[in-house]
Amino acid sequence: MVTLLYFASLRERLGCSREEIALPAGSPTVATLLERLRDRDPRWSDAFAPGQRWRVAVNREMADLATPVKPGDEIAFFPPVTGG
């Protein structure tokens, strides 16, 4: 299992701030995880459709589609940051 977190506009759009899901088999990455989420629910396929701007962090480090994920990881999806 991994923990998924969603922040800001992405959280509101998906109606979800946190969930636990099982990892895909094999050598899962952010990309394969996202594939599963898109297949699961049209809200996810819309929010992560090509052209949508979003960022991902794995265990609180900025990551990308190719980043490997393993059981116990904390994977956060959010829009580009706007602090300061």
Partner: protein, 151 residues
């Protein structure tokens, strides 16, 4: 060690900068930046905003940014205090402070920290406008400012 804090309370700029320099007679320069809430953005009147962050990652991102500043410039210490929660125009959002022996390093490191914070620290602003609330979109000009420090 950098002083890093995320808080809802207002920032007492004088007291924080005093704490940064206390007991550091080797510091000949203190550069600081204070970010404030504006009352307009992209032509819209702003009544206030709510700042959200990613607890746990925010502190790590700020720590990494300050460590990178320490590696790039000959500076003594750094401070970043960022507010979250509900803010109104005129409120302080962020304070950055950098001490060094001479001013050039402190000025440069302070600007670097702000540019990286704007593009790497997980904070998000939601503005209240007369037309309702809206999430602030990230700006290409902020990405461009951060890119200046590459290489």
């Amino acid at each position: 060690m950098p002083i890093l804090r995320v808080q809802e309370a207002d920032i007492d700029v004088g007291r924080e900068l005093e704490a940064l320099t206390r007991g550091r007679a080797d510091a000949g320069a203190l550069a600081s930046f204070v970010g404030l809430v504006r009352d307009t953005n992209e032509g819209h009147a702003i009544g206030g905003m709510t700042l959200e962050h990613y607890p746990g990652m925010t502190e790590k991102a700020l720590s990494d940014i300050c460590a990178e500043a320490q590696a790039r410039w000959d500076i003594i210490d750094t401070l970043v205090i960022h507010r979250v929660g509900r803010l109104v125009p005129g409120d302080r959002i962020v304070l950055v402070g950098v001490t060094s022996a001479h001013r050039g390093e402190a000025f440069a490191a302070c600007e670097f920290i702000m540019d990286y914070l704007k593009t790497r620290a997980p904070f998000w602003k939601k503005e209240a406008t007369p037309q309702g609330e809206r999430w602030v979109e990230s700006r290409e000009s902020d990405d461009a400012a951060a890119r200046r420090w590459k290489g």
